[in-house]
């Protein structure tokens, strides 16, 4: 986009440095429990019991993409 038509506020857009990669192959929705499980070694545990769960609680999710960014 030419700078001449770029809104002022967009100059402050930055790439956050604490985004994480989310491998959806390590996630599985458990239809019985109605929660997401994640791979932990050779086990599947509730995502909320995993450190990734805390990260997602903090940052919010973009489920259609493979990266997660801050969102309070």
């Amino acid at each position: 986009m030419p700078d001449s038509v770029r809104p002022f506020g967009l100059r402050y857009a930055i790439r956050p440095d604490d985004g994480i990669d989310l491998d959806t192959a390590d996630l599985e929705f458990d239809d019985e429990l109605q929660i997401t499980l994640t791979r932990h070694g050779d086990q599947w545990i509730p995502l909320t019991d995993h450190r990734l769960g805390l990260t997602l609680q903090t940052t919010g999710t973009r489920t259609t993409e493979d990266e997660i960014y801050d969102k309070a």
Partner: protein, 323 residues
């Protein structure tokens, strides 16, 4: 599904909703989790009106009778998805009908935490600031404008000013996702004519002893003190989570009363609110998120927010009827 079930409307991947569902299950409450994006491909609705709405929502494996909904949690659902095979025009029409029909039916369900339309209303920053001031909260001087000269004048008039976006902080910049945090301005010379291109929000900087993330669930207030231990976190703590130091504090009575007045005015049962506490102890309202994150606050502080949310979802009478 037995009477007194809780509907959780959320995306499939939402660990915060997972916490609520786990607690509901622990209390023996039936749960029906679905997403707007499930409709119409994986979610079937049938509703009859005969003086009141009755019917059901059904996934391939579970069913929820509308008249048995005890409480409903609106937790960041995705949008409904028309069939991929549809033309663009047909898909847009179908999506509009889904929003009006399925979305309308959901809006008729009582006992939302929070009602989706009230979430939308409360997300507007101009609405929030006016509601906060009307309720008796202190609010920083704020300017909304697309006029560069007015913006420069405002920034010159206050000791220090910040720019913050109104809504989503996300920018998809040609494939690279970026975020726009609250940004401190160096002075009026930083303002140029590009302010003309959309609405911009400038606000007076407030010196802070610390910040507060106040999570409110009905009458319960859970206040976490946040101290940013880095330059970035001191301006906007969202920009540097590892640098935040957490604590628990009490909310002054007059602030608590004003907060409840504000949420009553906005019709909200849940809110994640941000305050600055000045060095002289005055609380100043900055922001309200009617669907904000709270689980990490519970993790960091031990404040029992999840339990309060579940309490709230179960407060409605089990025989509550959609209106």
């Amino acid at each position: 599904m037995t009477a007194g079930a809780v509907l959780v409307l959320t995306s499939q991947l939402d660990p915060t909703a997972d916490l609520v569902i786990t607690e509901l299950h622990r209390r023996g409450t039936p749960v029906f989790r679905c997403d707007l994006a499930d409709f119409p491909q994986h979610l079937r609705i049938t509703a009859h009106f005969d003086g009141r709405w009755s019917g059901h929502l059904a996934t391939p494996t579970r069913e929820l009778r509308l008249e048995e909904i005890r409480g409903a949690y609106y937790r960041r659902p995705s949008r409904s998805q028309p069939a991929a095979e549809m033309s663009v025009a047909d898909g847009q029409w179908a999506a509009g009908e889904a929003d009006a029909g399925f979305g309308g039916l959901l809006r008729a369900i009582p006992h939302w935490l929070n009602h989706p339309d009230l979430i939308t209303h409360a997300e507007y920053k101009p609405v929030q600031l006016a509601a906060a001031a009307a309720a008796g909260l202190s609010v920083p001087r704020t300017l909304i404008t697309n006029d560069p000269a007015t913006a420069r004048e405002f920034v010159a008039h206050v000791d220090r000013a910040v720019y913050k976006p109104f809504s989503s902080p996300y920018l998809d910049d040609e494939g690279t996702r970026r975020l726009i945090y609250t940004t401190s301005l160096s002075g009026p010379h930083e303002i140029d004519d590009s302010v003309r291109h959309t609405a911009h929000l400038f606000q007076e900087w407030v010196d802070k002893a610390y910040e507060v993330r106040l999570t409110v669930v009905d009458q319960h207030c859970f206040a976490a003190r946040l101290v940013g231990r880095s330059q970035r976190a001191a301006i906007d703590w969202r920009s540097d989570y590892p640098a935040i130091e957490y604590g628990v504090i009490d909310v002054p009575d007059q602030v608590q009363a004003a907060v409840h007045r504000m949420l009553h005015r906005l019709g909200l049962r849940f809110a994640a609110m941000d305050f600055v506490v000045r060095p002289d102890g005055e609380w100043m309202f900055l922001d309200l998120n009617p669907n904000g994150q709270w689980a990490w606050i519970e993790h960091e502080t031990g404040l029992p927010i999840c339990s309060a949310i579940v309490d709230a979802l179960l407060q409605a009478p089990p025989d509550a009827q959609p209106s």
